[in-house]
Symmetry: T
Subunit: 158 residues, 12 copies
């Protein structure tokens, strides 16, 4: 069923470009949620508990926006793809190390990961400025949340 | 940090075999949660709403046990690995089709997917019978939940 | 009391054009809430329960935004008018049939009704782009919600 | 689908007369809910806040009984009709003025409106005494609530 | 202890006739709750989930009124009897088939079962009109709820 | 302000007779709430805790209906009077003994008190049958609750 | 049972004087709760709703401390007496007028009533300073709450 | 539909023996819930309130496990049968007496009833040890709860 | 620590201009929260209760956005400054009078205060249109809320 | 770390004497919580359920104040000691018997235990009157709660 | 309106001295709430998250007592003044540094700030011992809370 | 009352050996709860807040299982003994140091304490494998929880 059963409120080209932004963001957010869970389970060190809890808040944010982004894709008549293979093939995030990690290494990796997602979301905000203000508004809300958490992770490195 | 910072309540060989079962189950459950979300977003047809909601309950179950399984691995001194690449490389679940799917196709795919997970979890129950009753008890609870949902998905095919 | 007791944060012409958009949207949303309730009560057929419940979510959305839109009109110094007669005289929505309706007929009518509202809300988003970004932001949130539900109703026709 | 798909627990003539009472009450309650919302948005004056809040309680009551009355019609095998046009054509309530209204004018209009609804509901209680005690019980509960609120609005005029 | 330890607010003959109505209703409601659970567990087919959930609402209603009816019997000085054997010996409801049932067969059986209970409750309303208005009021509330659910089950057959 | 600022939905004679029933019930209920609190504080003996808790449920019932009865009086245009002196002068309940009381004496006194209130409420149900069905419905609900609690207090004397 | 079944943590003379203060306060608080309810039901005028709601907060405070004061009496081995007749015979509060009262008259009466209670509670604080600090602490908490509400009622007279 | 639409995770013989255990337990639990309700309504005597409340906790436990046991039967591909007639024909519990019962008689009967259920559940635990650990785990949880309540009922006979 | 430990998603000049807007808004909102509390405590007159409660809703809004604005400053790498001295030195709001104030004077002062804040926030919306859409979106949400409350305060002056 | 890392708001001698009172109370409360739990588990007899539940309320009170007392010690710069050995060595409470106890024996033992704790807490209130009013206030609140429960246990012996 | 519209339960001199204590405390608490928020936003370093969260609990305490202290001033007939300028002119707290601060510097500053507030509150407890026990009780509760948090901040410096 | 008033579902020897395991576990868990509270109050150092909170979760776990273990003892007809003296005499846990402890020392002590409890619980799991699967299941659940927390405490030492 590759022909869309959902009509789009957008013109065909806007649908295509907006759909591409949403698919990119979807994949990044799923990867972010898996990385944050991986970190949540594997962090060790004196600040373990604080980091362990804060990582679950990040998982929670990633999951909430994953859903909103995928449903927005549907709303403009584009099928979202969030399977594991798709994530591996198209995520824009840096790899996360295997095995237990110290809190310091964990914080550094999460700061870098968030920096990468934010840069891509901000690009999406620019790209949707002409094609779909509704999608742009969703990306702005996502950027606001990610940048807030980015500050909170960076604050620990000072 | 590949040397475990966590002591194990198990003997070394029990730790190894139990850890392998937990890692296998972890990967399957993450894959299950991604597949169920994929289906949740892409299902279409007259029973859309029912299937859409039921799929989110499956996501919820998969996520809850993902966490419990990963934390059990830590509790026996084994680092869990739940990254996207690990899922792609070692999941035991069949691939899920891309694009929108009819409710019938969705139900059939979920029934098959659950059947595959259940078979592997039951194998894990056997394997941990001697090595760790605490892990076995977790797998029994997981099987109970998955088999219950398996019935509910099969019931729709009658 | 036709002279406004409420000062406006907008210039007079922006107040007038924005007020017109809000009044139009208000009437559409009240009509939508009455139509969705009518459908909620009169739907019959094998999928009755699913449609019955989903229609109440639509009523709920329509009522929530009815209130926000009317209060936004007040906030810019314009008296909102949501009486039954005003709705009949100025709603932009197609008529909804009398008597019980099958689920299929109900779904088709709701898809069409939502399509009509969305088109008008999107027009309002364009019209307020220069006159009032605060009102525009409200309409964008409304469009996001309506387009999401539009997808969910259309998904049942596939 | 004008032939009822729902069997009635009442004889045919009781079904007809009871159905007429319910349809009349349904329309009055929808009109009441729209009038109370209109007043909620357009009231001004020193007691604004009190009246604004109290009007929403009236909306809430009207909406709750609208639903119960429409569902009771279905339960006796009669299709309820609550569309905007039906309300305009058959409501028994006096018109409500356009534009902002002082608290005094608002209170007076609501007292009159409630008086009109109550008189009609009491007539419905008489008419259903022989035809359907279940419907009568619903109308008695409605009268109890409306007469209580009628007192509270009148109390402000003393 | 067959002599009542509870005095009755009713005359002896009213107590006897009202008590008989309550005992009849009690048995019907217990049987209804067991049938609805049986159906809840054994329904299969594409609408499984909807029917499965709706049946539990019926169980819930039956149980709530079972309790209220039994406690009303006590309140008028009559010992209620709700044991399994009493239900088998005196229930007025048609038998429900063994084994899994399709959604269509389930809906048809529930519609018929509800029709039977409603007819008997309405008879009880007539019988208590002279003997005890308090009991009558309880039966009216029960009829209202059962007739509402009867509509919702019938609606699926249209 | 002895002339009523509240119009009545009843004829003048119905208003008068219904108002008298409501005022009588109001006074009885206030007295009941004070007696039940007195008993709640002064009960002693092995079953202290059970009786102490059950008495507070009776207080709660008495207070809830006190409010509903007084508000119903207002709704029919009659000023309710629930002052301490009015209670002493017109309550129909037997006096309650001073000082600590054994559980047995407490139960006996409460059973007798409830018997007295119920008899008077049942008389009110008869008297309002022609004058006001809305008030009658309130008294029926009150009788249902009091007779249920009467059973529960009597049950302890068996 | 006039001999106390409860031992006292106080000496006999402290028990007697503290008990007298608690009994006085108990009676005042019950009278206050009845007066505030009487006012709650009988207030009329443009500020009806505000006064009606605020009076119920006063009832709530009076009832809460009635219970705490009576239970404190028990805790020091004194039987509390809160029957209607006791209230009429020993309350220190001014009489409250019959029939509906304007908001202004209501506010004035409540301000005077609260003034009277506060003066007596403050006297109780002095009297228990030597006899029982635990009781004194309860009276201080009561004074704090009453004086706060006294301000809020007086504020309306400015 | 006697051929199972649900595949079983068990071998055929394990499915049969486990299914028999579940069906036996299902019937016992339904009977237990009806007996406990019967006792809840018919207990009288000085400890009425305590026993009345405690019996409802037993009903609650019985109902919860009734559902879990029936759903487990489905999960292994066996249709559960919980109709009144089935209960009468195959329950393993002793009969419960008709009419009101003293607290002592009630406690004794419940202690005996629980003893009978527990013995049969423990037998089921043995029988499923080889056939299905998932079902066994459910029966262990059920035994834990029933044995806890058994203690609490026996404690009253000391 | 005057060198920012937090990287900014904005260019340096955008960071500077956006940071200035946020700092200005932060100070205004803190001042608004202190003024609204001052008014909450010092308002007197017949509408005391309504104004007292409404002022706390304003405090609540001011505090919520104070936090969001300060955290947004951090998110773009700017240290927020909300100390008392900073507020006194840079707030753009008019002074609020000392001592008790009548409701009329209070309403007038709050209307003026809100007018001043809104004008400054709207200026901030313009200034951030090019520099940071995420910050602009936050200011738009703030303006929406303040303008809504501005209407509600003005409505009382009509 | 025997030198206090926490400064005290008290003079050294006040810190010492207040600290001694708090340490004494801490130990008594821990012992009380263990005794009440022991009684909760071992009580038997017809009033089992009532006593079992009431004992858990006592545990709850003891635990809540244990925490407040220990934290108060810290707040004045004194390290609290609540280890099992410390309790055995310095508790002022009488021993509680081993094995199951009848309700009568349980009530008697709890009444005696509470009497002992109260006497010691009252002594602490005297001792802190000059040294620390904040600690005294905490002990007064504790005495109020214990004396209330003491009454409720004694009431059962009448 | 400088003449108090609120009568005082205190003599004139007690009103004056108590009022001065309350005004002093009010200003300190507002300053404390602003400082704690400033610290909440500007803290950085490895323990960021812990300190960030703990600071918000301090804000919460400061705000709650700010309100209680201001309302107590009203209750004794004194107008509270909590404007920004008043805080700057009369706060007794040390200045808090601008810009981001390390966790260590933050903890040290908060410990010092709390020490200063506590000393002043303890002085207020002494000053109100003769003038108003109700106010003193409020200050004692405030001291208890501040000293508890003081311990928790100091504990981090050990 | 040393002869058990509670019958056992176990044979005499199974009852004895299982009872011994439960008594041992009970004592260990009470000691664990007291040690964790002691640590909760006496921990100091930069990670104070994290450790302080985490210790209360351990207290919570210890208390919950204390209750379940003691109630299980009763359920098999064995009287549990959890008095302070019994804990001191038979606990298997290492002593915990007096006075304030650094976070590092605290973490080390808790890790060791948990290690000791877990070893003993695992021994209990082995011992009950033949005697009582219901008790074994409870111990498995306890081990799962303790081993999870053991990991979280060890993680801080890495």
């Amino acid at each position: 069923m590759t022909k869309s059963p959902i009509t789009s409120p957008l013109s065909d080209s806007d649908r295509k470009s907006t759909g591409a932004v949403l698919q990119t963001t979807l994949v990044d957010l799923i990867d972010l949620s898996l990385i944050a869970k991986q970190a949540h389970w594997n962090v060790v060190g004196p600040h373990f508990r604080s980091a362990h809890l804060q990582l679950d808040e990040l998982v929670s944010t990633a999951r909430q926006y994953t859903d909103e982004v995928a449903e927005r894709a549907n709303a403009i008549g584009v099928s979202p793809n969030g399977k594991a293979r798709t994530v591996v093939e198209s995520s824009g995030l840096p790899d996360y190390p295997d095995n237990w990690q110290s809190v310091e290494a964990t914080v550094a990796a999460i700061v870098a990961t968030l920096g990468a997602v934010i840069a891509r979301v901000r690009k999406g905000i620019d790209e949707t400025d002409k094609s779909d203000l509704v999608t742009q508004d969703l990306l702005i809300a996502l950027a606001a949340e990610l940048e807030k958490q980015h500050w909170m992770w960076q604050a620990q490195t000072a």
